[in-house]
């Protein structure tokens, strides 16, 4: 006969207020197999844990049930307690009588009765428990960072500074990301390039950092500590070792059709190009879709002009396969497509631009060399209207837009308005806003400066429609405070478009089995307590891929993610989850059904000599790689002979719970 101990926690009044804890403890005492049952105010406190330890020793308990809060809260605590008293930690079961009982039932008799049932189910289960020992797996001491924007760069630098190898995989030809496209940054107005480019250079020169640019992640397998990633390094058609980044080829290239991505397509570039002057790595790349050589087989002007002989038209994609202990997602964002909001005439006029386009129009390295001009005719604008919340804060059942606040638009719009007024005091600037949201250090002060010092015309209300009237843009909007409909004739309209996760995020999330929300932002393991970790072990989140953020927040989160990665990589081995699948070789039919449903490829089949009372000989049997198995149990249900079972959640354990509940 087993000796089970039951420990009923009051959780102060959290449980005791609606569950008669003494009655539960008393009732459990008469359950078969229970040799000790008691209650205590806070079982998780040191005294409470000592009570458990003493009982385990005194009554020689071989299994315990703690009736307390959710196992997600304190299962680990009580397992450690049991272990300290010499009991296998997996001989502990938790009856969740707080979240699933006392907190949701107001009636004491009802709560008490349910608590007893839950306790009985846990007792029934623990009787079927078996001591389990966790396996261990080694940790590959290298991290992969997906995305080379400020988030990825910062994480990589921090991890590398701690002494670990880091690879950054970036899909575009240069690192730098969105921040590299920005002109000035709020609320300090320092230039983005001035603070970003030194970090880009540092990442490039760091001996522990390996930049894999113009590359895409193709596949990820494995698990925490032991990921294997396959990366496709796309052909640049330029020899990286030979190219000096002199840029002669980019000037000589006769094709001028490619839209300049760095300038948001506001101007064009050659088919061979370097994304921007400070690109890292400073290497040319051929855009084959616009290259005359690739289209006609002729041209080759770049090849003739390259004194380094770096042009390699026949270069092919390269596959890099490498092992990593941790993966950081830093995939960033893009502005939504403003053409969905055509009431603002985005597709109808070149003078209606998004804020990121405006950023390029203001930038000294931009298409107009930093002189603000109207894109349609290159003339100086005299009146500019900014429209906030374009595509943000939309209802889920609206025809378009995102439900969330994009968070950064209020501040960058204030920045734009201020910069325009600073540089061109003759320009009238209007900002239509719903709310101005400035929760950040020095943020509201910044916005007030735009209003008070720079005379920016902030109008509470939304623009209903923008129409093209000759050379002017007719902005028709409401001013809620004056209860008027305004008609403003502007030269330019700037749309503060919502931001959304980079389009590659969804497929990367699927590869990593990292969960995402309905907006394709990555979900954190806990919204407050584990904000930089994905629920999938070994996957960490950095920057806007997790939700809208400004630069300081992104950098802070990037550092936090790095510290989590460092914590993981500093371990030599990881203790695994012992609740894994296991095949009873005597019962196994060798039918391979389980192998087909395993998402981790943890099951293999072998011909093996098997000895048992009814069978002796060689047979085909399933084998589970315990380091790879994550314990989902999909295999167990496919097995018709119940040869495959899951430790910790065995058929017998679950059936015992069912029986106890339906008793």
């Amino acid at each position: 006969m087993q000796k089970i101990g039951v420990f009923v926690c009051w959780c102060g009044s959290n449980i005791a207020a609606t569950v008669d804890v003494k009655a539960v403890a008393n009732a459990m005492r008469s359950e078969p197999g229970v040799v000790f049952s008691t209650d205590y105010q806070y079982m998780c406190s040191e005294n409470g844990q000592n009570l458990i330890k003493d009982a385990i020793r005194d009554y020689k308990l071989d299994g315990i049930v703690v009736c307390s809060c959710s196992p997600r809260m304190h299962e680990a605590t009580f397992r450690k307690t049991a272990m300290a008293a010499g009991l296998n930690p997996y001989m502990v079961e938790i009856a969740n009588i707080r979240e699933q009982c006392s907190w949701i039932h107001k009636d004491m008799p009802e709560g008490t009765e349910k608590a007893m049932v839950l306790a009985r189910a846990a007792i029934a289960k623990v009787k079927k428990n078996a001591p389990l020992t966790a396996g261990t797996s080694p940790v590959t001491k290298r991290a992969l960072v997906i995305g080379g924007g400020i988030a990825g760069i910062q994480t990589a630098l921090d991890v590398a500074d701690a002494g670990y190898e880091v690879d950054i995989v970036e899909k575009s030809p240069t690192i730098g990301g969105r921040m590299a496209q920005l002109d000035k940054t709020f609320p300090t107005l320092d230039c983005a390039a001035c603070i970003l480019t030194p970090k880009m250079v540092e990442a490039n020169q760091h001996e522990k950092i390996n930049l894999i640019t113009y590359s895409e992640l193709e596949n990820v397998s494995g698990f925490v500590g032991n990921f294997t990633a396959r990366i496709r390094k796309k052909a640049r058609h330029v020899d990286e070792k030979k190219c000096t980044g002199c840029g002669v080829c980019t000037e000589k290239c006769p094709s001028r059709k490619g839209l300049n991505e760095f300038n948001m397509g506001l101007n064009t570039r050659g088919a061979i190009y370097i994304p921007f002057a400070q690109a890292i790595p400073n290497l040319a790349v051929i855009d084959t879709s616009n290259c005359i050589h690739f289209k006609t087989g002729k041209c080759g002007i770049c090849e003739k002009n390259c004194s380094a002989g770096a042009i390699k038209f026949d270069q092919e994609d390269e596959i890099i396969e490498r092992k990593y202990g941790a993966i950081v997602v830093a995939t960033g964002f893009k502005p939504i497509d403003a053409s969905y909001f055509d009431e603002y005439a985005y597709t109808q006029s070149k003078d209606v631009v998004t804020s990121l386009e405006f950023e390029r129009l203001m930038n000294a390295a931009g298409p107009s060399k930093g002189v603000l001009v109207r894109p349609s005719d290159g003339e100086h604008p005299h009146d500019i209207t900014f429209i906030q919340c374009v595509g943000s804060r939309c209802s889920h059942d609206a025809t378009k837009g995102k439900e969330y606040c994009s968070k950064i638009c209020c501040m960058y719009t204030a920045k734009h308005a201020m910069l325009v007024r600073e540089k061109y005091p003759d320009v009238n600037v209007h900002v239509f806003y719903i709310d101005v949201r400035t929760p950040g250090k020095n943020f509201d002060e910044f916005y007030r400066r735009a209003v008070e010092q720079y005379d920016v015309d902030y109008i509470k209300g939304m623009v209903g429609k923008v129409t093209v009237e000759g050379k002017k843009l007719h902005v028709q909007g409401s001013s809620l405070l004056s209860n008027d409909q305004l008609h403003i004739y502007s030269d330019m309209v700037v749309l503060a478009t919502a931001i959304e996760p980079d389009p590659t995020a969804r497929s990367i999330g699927t590869m990593l089995t990292a969960s995402m929300d309905t907006n394709d932002f990555f979900t954190e393991a806990h919204p407050k307590l584990r904000p930089v970790e994905s629920p999938t072990a070994g996957i960490f989140l950095s920057g806007v891929c997790q939700g809208p953020k400004d630069i300081p927040e992104t950098v802070a989160q990037a550092g936090a993610a790095a510290s989590k990665v460092i914590g993981l990589l500093s371990k030599n081995e990881l203790v695994g989850n012992p609740c894994v699948a296991h095949a009873n070789e005597l019962l196994c039919n060798g039918c391979s059904q389980c192998e087909r449903v395993c998402p981790y490829g943890a099951i293999t089949y072998v011909e093996k000599e098997v000895r048992g009372p009814e069978f002796r000989g060689v047979k085909r049997v399933a084998q589970v790689n315990e380091a790879v198995c994550q314990g989902c149990g999909a295999c167990t249900v496919t097995c018709p002979s119940t040869a495959m079972d899951l430790k910790g959640f065995s058929n017998n354990q679950i059936i015992a719970e069912v029986d106890a509940i339906c008793r």
């Binding site: 909001f341 009431e343 005439a345 025809t399 000759g470 007719h474």
Partner: protein, 266 residues
């Protein structure tokens, strides 16, 4: 292809010609329009109130008739199109209306929004194809600068109407190109002309019409075409300071296809 055809009240009374142009042009383009038997007026205004049932029944009857024939329901008037398409959407999505309307109508088999509602212009675009119309045109309207007037009912709400880009539509401009004329883009083409309030508040209607006609004129238009008899009337009758000829699109199609001459010649 044969469509169940819902002409609507105006095209059967005051504007018979527009109906005739539409039918003959369709025939010339290889599309047969079978008028729905005993159709009733759709009411011309979509009943927005959620408790309106009776006012939606005539549309449901027409939809059920098209369903019974296994045909798409084709409309020529924008108002009819708007009402019938939205009622059909309600029948697909609103359980309460489904239940009550079917209880009331006692059809052989309940109507659950199975029919597809197609506007004449959509038929031209998706079934015939503007390229084919271009080929069939005998009298291209060369050099005529035409402003397409969309108004409200074809485009909005776009979630239900799904007719074209609600803020920057192209279908009528494409039509204008197909018949050999030159489309004129102007800012007011999808702004309301005030047709619905032309009886209630003539000054407001006049104000709206003037804004639209002026916008078209400023853009160089010589003519406005519409797909709605009410808009057509309103843009003409309530024009005060600015005035342009207003035509129904089927009339131009009929002319361009050269149907009259063909008949006379035959």
């Amino acid at each position: 292809m044969t469509y169940s055809y819902y002409p609507g009240c105006t095209l059967k009374t005051k504007a018979k010609d527009l109906d005739r142009y539409g039918r003959l042009s369709a025939e010339a383009l290889g599309v047969t329009l079978e008028e729905i038997e005993n159709w009733q007026c759709c009411g011309a205004v979509y009943p927005q109130a959620s408790d309106e049932i009776a006012t939606k029944l005539s549309a449901i009857r027409a939809l059920d008739a098209a369903k019974g024939k296994g045909q798409k329901l084709l409309t020529l008037c924008s108002a009819c199109h708007h009402v019938i398409k939205r009622v059909n959407h309600d029948m697909q999505t609103d359980d309460n209306l489904r239940l009550k309307a079917n209880n009331y109508l006692k059809l052989d088999e309940p109507y659950l929004g199975e029919a597809e509602v197609v506007h004449y212009l959509e038929m031209l675009r998706d079934e015939v194809g503007f390229d084919n119309i271009k080929k069939a045109v005998k009298n291209p309207l060369k050099g005529v600068k035409i402003a397409a007037y969309y108004g409200c009912l074809l485009l909005r709400p776009s979630g239900v109407m799904a007719f074209d880009n609600p803020e920057c539509p192209t279908i009528i401009e494409d039509f204008i190109k197909a018949i050999g004329a030159t489309p004129v883009i102007y800012s007011q083409r999808n702004e309301c002309c005030g047709g619905y309030i032309s009886l209630e508040d003539k000054p407001q209607a006049q104000k709206r019409v003037d804004a639209i006609v002026k916008s078209a004129m400023d853009a160089g238009a010589e003519m406005i075409i519409t797909a709605c008899p009410l808009c057509m009337y309103n843009l003409d009758a309530n024009a005060t300071e600015h005035r342009l000829p207003v035509k129904y699109f089927t009339e131009l199609l009929y002319q361009a296809l050269g149907i009259e001459e063909e008949k006379e010649g035959a």
